[in-house]
Structures are given as structure tokens and as C-alpha cells.
Symmetry: C2
Subunit: 310 residues, 2 copies
Amino acid sequence: MSAPSLPGRVLVREVGPRDGFQNEPEVVPTDDKVRLIDALARTGLRRIEVTSFVRADVIPQLADAAEVLRRIDVPDGVAVSVLVPNERGLDAALALRDRFDEVSVFLSASETHNRHNVNRSVEASLDGLQRVLGRAREAGLRCEAVISTAFGCPYEGAVDEDRVLDIARRLVADGAQEIGFGDTTGMANPLGVGRFFTRAAQALGDDVQLTAHFHNTRGQGLANVLAALQAGCASLESSFGELGGCPFPPGATGNVATEDVVSMLHEMGIETGVDLAAVLEAARAVRDVLGRPLGSHTLTAGPVDWSGTA
Amino acid sequence: MSAPSLPGRVLVREVGPRDGFQNEPEVVPTDDKVRLIDALARTGLRRIEVTSFVRADVIPQLADAAEVLRRIDVPDGVAVSVLVPNERGLDAALALRDRFDEVSVFLSASETHNRHNVNRSVEASLDGLQRVLGRAREAGLRCEAVISTAFGCPYEGAVDEDRVLDIARRLVADGAQEIGFGDTTGMANPLGVGRFFTRAAQALGDDVQLTAHFHNTRGQGLANVLAALQAGCASLESSFGELGGCPFPPGATGNVATEDVVSMLHEMGIETGVDLAAVLEAARAVRDVLGRPLGSHTLTAGPVDWSGTA
């Protein structure tokens, strides 16, 4: 059997400062956020989602979005992205337009999850995002739209692939240049992931960047990454330290860890431009800030050492 | 791109009672071992490595090997295997010949690791195993030989694939019906694993069962399982609760978790004959016995629920 081919280079977007800090029970101090983002921005990661402009009474963990955006010091060549849920969030972000490069919007593929998450129907979300995407593109921002529960919904079970692809097509028509497919509660398996990304590439064409966002809920995170890469996907989202997702019950895991992803990619000869040792240093720093063990494996075990000097 | 094919059915050998309990800092009480093995033997797992006949002064954790073997109550159709390091171990096991079905022997592919582990050269190990395999086959036992550090050695770095395959060929010639390839310190990556199992199947032929034994040291355990399956491997070793390997530093992971492997296989439509809920019950029981969090993801998160009733 011939081995499936893999991309030679993969883009990794770090989402820990948004997805991770949003889901921590304690608010991470702004000083720590700024220090950690500045560190991540010097690891070779080319894209970092730094915060989200959401209602401070709903998500107090990210109430300092504007201050974070103002204070971070990110080198040229590193794209800063912010998540916005709606036009009000976009307005708040645009007040700091010169401080970021990309915007991400989101909705869920399943009605019930979308209602739980943003209290509206998928159709109403799409209508709202059409306006957000239009205005963001006018402002010269690169736009990603993330489709949550793309591989299964905890409330509805299976999610129809055709439905996910229809939503993706509409978001592209409305201005999204990148579609992220989120395995929000870790229901994806590699066989389904491979099939889905093969179909998505055919359905959405070469001009749209397809991004995979996996959680490591049942330990399959990197297996799903592998399946996505084999199906031609070359853009991933991950969190340093395996932050993100729901940190409860204790021990439950979040997004795939950036350092685990980068380690696997490098071991397979795939370029990322990322300095693994520097990401591990940032992951150690966030572990110190949070004061608890993190799910990341490479952070615990250290990188693979081929020097033979153990 | 066409998706690589996967086997329709995979054999899973549970090695937690040997590999897991051997590596626990505290000796697990014999009563608990017997109870847990009896539970595992009723989960649909068809093969269980229950203990090892080693020197009690070297590995006190398994000093009760004979008692465990005498006391377990395993249903027909479940193959009981024991690990033996040498002829003395085989002698001790053969005193209870009617209590088990399979024997596993082991050595390392790399000289330095083999010397650290069994204090002899690879050549001396092979000579000794020739006698063990010969006598075990005469006693009607099915024989597996495990090659450790098959994908990399912490002391020597890269391990030559040809060397691993040469060792495997010799073990087959000496009577091994199954060769296990161990990623002892979690250095394997999916690309290398896929290439290796493709070569191994060609080199060793259809009469030899090839078994993959991965650790989840850097989170790539299930990705390596996926790559092995894509390369035609249909036999895996795993440990309930993700026991095994070196449990230090705290949080470091062992073998891939049986429940994580079974969950992924079932989600991909691959049959194992295993009742995932029953394995999770056994994993909860061993967690209670050990009194510490375990690395298993599905044990923490629960199985994927497609009912949509979250």
C-alpha cells in the first residue's frame, strides 16, 4: 500500500491566548497575558489569536481585550488575529484597527449548540456574520470563519457533512477567506476527518484556506491532525500547553497542544517555521502562571532527543 | 487523494497487568491484580498479558507472578500470556503450564538499551531467546517476541530499520510466531511507523503476526496507531488507564490507553470485539486502586456520545 502524501509545510495558528485564557476558571492577569503573547510571537509562530471582543459580563476572562491588544509587542511578519462574535465586537476591535491583521468569526453547524453558545439560530448567525465579514473585509482585515461542532454535536449527535459544507460555502460567499472546522467536543475520528477534508477541498476550491481545529478530548487529537494532513489540509489551530476547551472535569483536555503538534510535524519532516524549544519555554511559563499541570505531553516529556546522549 | 485503507478488525492485547503494574512505584496487592485481570478478561479483550516471571529482588512489583497465574479466573477464548526474560523465567512459568496460553520474550534493538535492561549484548540475548523460544514452542505455547527501542533509542538515537528487521527475522526463524515492535520511549512518528510496518510486512511475510506497541509519551500514540493500521498492521498492545512505561515525571504517560485505542477504532468502524464501557469500568477500578489520576483520555472524558442527549 502506498503511503498517503503529506504537505511539506504547515501553518500553525496559536489560539491559546484566546481559547485557553477564556476557559480558565481564574482570570489571567493582563501583565501575564501580554508577556506570554510576546513570548509566543518570538517562537516562529506566524499567526496568533490574542483575544476576543466579547461582553465583559459574559466572559470576564477576556474583559481586557483592548488593553492586551494595545500592549502586546509583536514582531513584523506575525499576524495578530482577534475573535469577534458580532458587529458590536467588531466595532470594539476596529477602534484598534492598526493593532491586528486578521479577524475570526464563529458559529456552530448544529442549531442546538449555536443556540446554547450565542442564543440565536444558525440562519440568524449567518445573517449577522455576513455583515461582520463585509465590514471586516472593507477594513482590510483577513477573515476566518470557524464552524464549531463540524464533526459532531453533544446535543444533536451526528452533524451532516453537506450541512457543514453549505454553511462554509455561504461564509466564503460572504467574504471569509479561511474556514476553520472545529471539533468542539472531541467527537471526530481520523476516518471521518480524512473523508471530510477531502470533500471540503473539492467543495470549496483552492482559493479558500481550510483550517483544522481539533481537541484532544479522547486522545485522538494528533491522529485527527494526521488524517487532516493526509487529506491535504495544511493549516492547523492549537494551544500552547494544551489549553482551551473545557478544563473540567480535572484532567480533561483542550485543544491539541501546539508543542505536541509541532513536535509531530517536525519529526515527520514537515516544516512549520516554529522553534519547538521556544514554544516549550512559553508553555512552561503559562504552566507557572496557571499553577496546575497541563495536558501537553511534550511539555512533560521534553522533545524527542535523537542525540543518543540520554 | 485516495484514503489509505484500514483493517476491518484489529486484535488488542491488554498489557496493563504486566507492563502497568511492573512500573508502579507501589506494589499492587495480589487481590487487586486478580480482581482487575478477571474484570479485563470479561470485557471482550481476547488477549491479556497478566504478569512476568522475573527475579523478585529486581522487580518486586511482580513477585506474585505464580500466585496471580494460579488465582485468576479467565473465560475460555481469552488467551493468557506471560512475559519471560530467560530460561529461568520460562521454567517458573512452565510449572504452571496449564494456566496460560502464550509467552512473550523481549530484547532491545539497540545494544546500549539492551545492556541497560538485561545486562547483555543483543547477540547474547538472541542466543538465549533461541533456547527459550524453542522450549516454549515444544511446550505448545504460542510465542511473541517483542523488540524494544524499535523506533529509536534514548541512548543511541536512531535505530536502523534493517537491523530491527534482521533481529525480527532471526526471532521468527527461532520460533516466534508474532513480533511486537516497541516504541519504548515514545520516539516514533507516524511517517516512520507507516514506512516501517509496510517494510516489515514485506520482510516477514504473512505467517508472522506483526504487533505495534506504542507509548503516548509525546501525545502521538494514537497517530502512530493510525499509521500502523494504514500500513496493514492489525494487532496492537495497550494498557487500560494508560498505565505502563515510566510513570515519572508526574504526568508522563505510558502505553497508549486501551480505552482510547478501542474508542478510536470503534469510531472508525473497526471491530475489536471489546466492550468499551466494560474496559472503562476496569480502568476506573484500577484508578481507584492506584489512587492517582491516570493518563487515559476516554476515562476522563467518557466515550463519544452520538445520542445527542448531552
